[in-house]
Symmetry: C3
Subunit: 200 residues, 3 copies
């Protein structure tokens, strides 16, 4: 399924851009910025691979991920102002990325024969923990714990995907509907300022 | 050994409660709170499994750990005030938890044929690193590095256990004595304000 | 190659000293200080082993690493003032350490048949991520992202090593030249206040 691989690399580049922007904002140097971009892009999938026991972790054996991250890095340095202006598009790309990363994480966990709830968790970790590691390395409280229903959108998209798989063998369609679910939930949550606070 | 499995799950729930309380205090949302509870409960054992090379890590294949964490999470939300009042009981449960986690970590390391000092270290990591990861994710300096002789109690309990194993085949008794050691050391350290500072 | 093993242990002790000094400065207790020393010394190699999939990670099966770290720990406690006075020597030892760790990391990755860029990355991670983990655990923004061209020196030393391997079979000489490269770059970078900031 070629389009999935392409979107995966594209999502990797978008995640790298988000990491590089954060690190530039924190005045990291050229190498530090690259490391943060790298870790943001591959951190979630790496943690998933480690927990499941898939070694060497995926990106070590496919240099296209290096190129995707390097592309995101260079684009951010040369077109920083334009990227900041394109915030809405970046937000959409980022959401497509987390949607796909969730589904890919679930698929990998399913292949390993893990239980449904473990698969869901692996999907959420794949999508969200790159950002968590980025925030830990830049000494911030991870954003997903406080501000957005980012992880929730992934969780619901993952549930939709697991339900669809039961009823349909059209894998492409299942993935697209699940990603669309993530996009719609995240869009609505920001449009209507949804949040999941415990004392209101 | 059924009672051990039961105490393990119970300790997991207590660790989750401690994580959820920390995250609620930091105003994390519903999902962030759950993640911190989860990570606190399984972080130490996960790091041990990764270092030794046991994959997939334990909780991915036993959904009872999910239920224990979910129970801790729900109890904390619905009975927050009561739990805060029960601080002394919680402290006891937590200490039983770290005692057992230390011994279980050592047992797993012994099965892998690791050296004595590696086994001790795996025990301490199993018991203490869930809290370390919780503190890193909530942007705090890990508590065990500064305030209590938490890790020391685990270390001494582990040494007691390894000595007992040499002389006694009554595994249940060995475990109970080792856990009691952890409880007594931690109790005395707080009662008499012991600490291990380097310049006094 | 005995001298390499010796320098490896020596570098481990020097890394432990750097971690212990940081933790003492932060007023950690005896156990916390030991943990930070330990993690600083073995963190980078551990992460490399995990990413590649070498289990159990190296130091779990060679107690000489424990002794090296313990030696670094005790030396720091008993000779703190002298060590602080020996800053220039410590800086040299530390640089020799990161140089050798880079090369050892690359060798291990080459053995696993990883691609050139993955090998380079494994070298840099081996040398630099102990310090990153130290900084995360002590709640600091990792130093290597901001102040020195630490990672860059490792990267360039690694490239020199990979080029030399193509042309020469004198492994000892290759390693010495690569380490010398790291030392020279780091020395020059501090002598002439080089830095890699993005907007100057």
């Amino acid at each position: 399924m070629n389009w999935i691989y392409f979107v995966d690399l594209f999502g990797t580049a978008v995640f790298a851009i988000s990491g590089v922007l954060t690190a530039m904002h924190k005045k990291f140097d050229l190498v530090g910025t690259l490391i943060i971009g790298f870790v943001t892009a591959i951190g979630g999938g790496t943690l998933r691979d480690i927990l499941i026991g898939r070694f060497p972790v995926g990106w070590l054996e496919d240099r296209n991920y290096f190129f995707a991250i390097l592309a995101g890095y260079l684009i951010t340095y040369f077109f920083e102002q334009q990227i900041i202006k394109l915030r809405k598009s970046m937000f959409l790309f980022d959401t497509i990325g987390i949607g796909l990363f969730t589904i890919l994480g679930i698929q990998i966990a399913l292949e390993q024969g893990l239980s449904t709830e473990s698969c869901l968790l692996m999907g959420v970790i794949s999508a969200c923990f790159g950002g968590v590691i980025r925030d830990v390395l830049t000494n911030e409280i991870p954003l997903i714990f406080r501000r957005e229903i980012y992880a929730t959108a992934c969780l619901l998209g993952g549930i939709v995907y697991l339900l669809l798989v039961e009823f349909s063998t059209n894998e492409n369609l299942n993935i697209l509907v699940a990603i669309a679910t993530v996009i719609i939930i995240r869009y609505l949550s920001i449009r209507y300022k949804w949040s999941l606070n415990f004392n209101q």
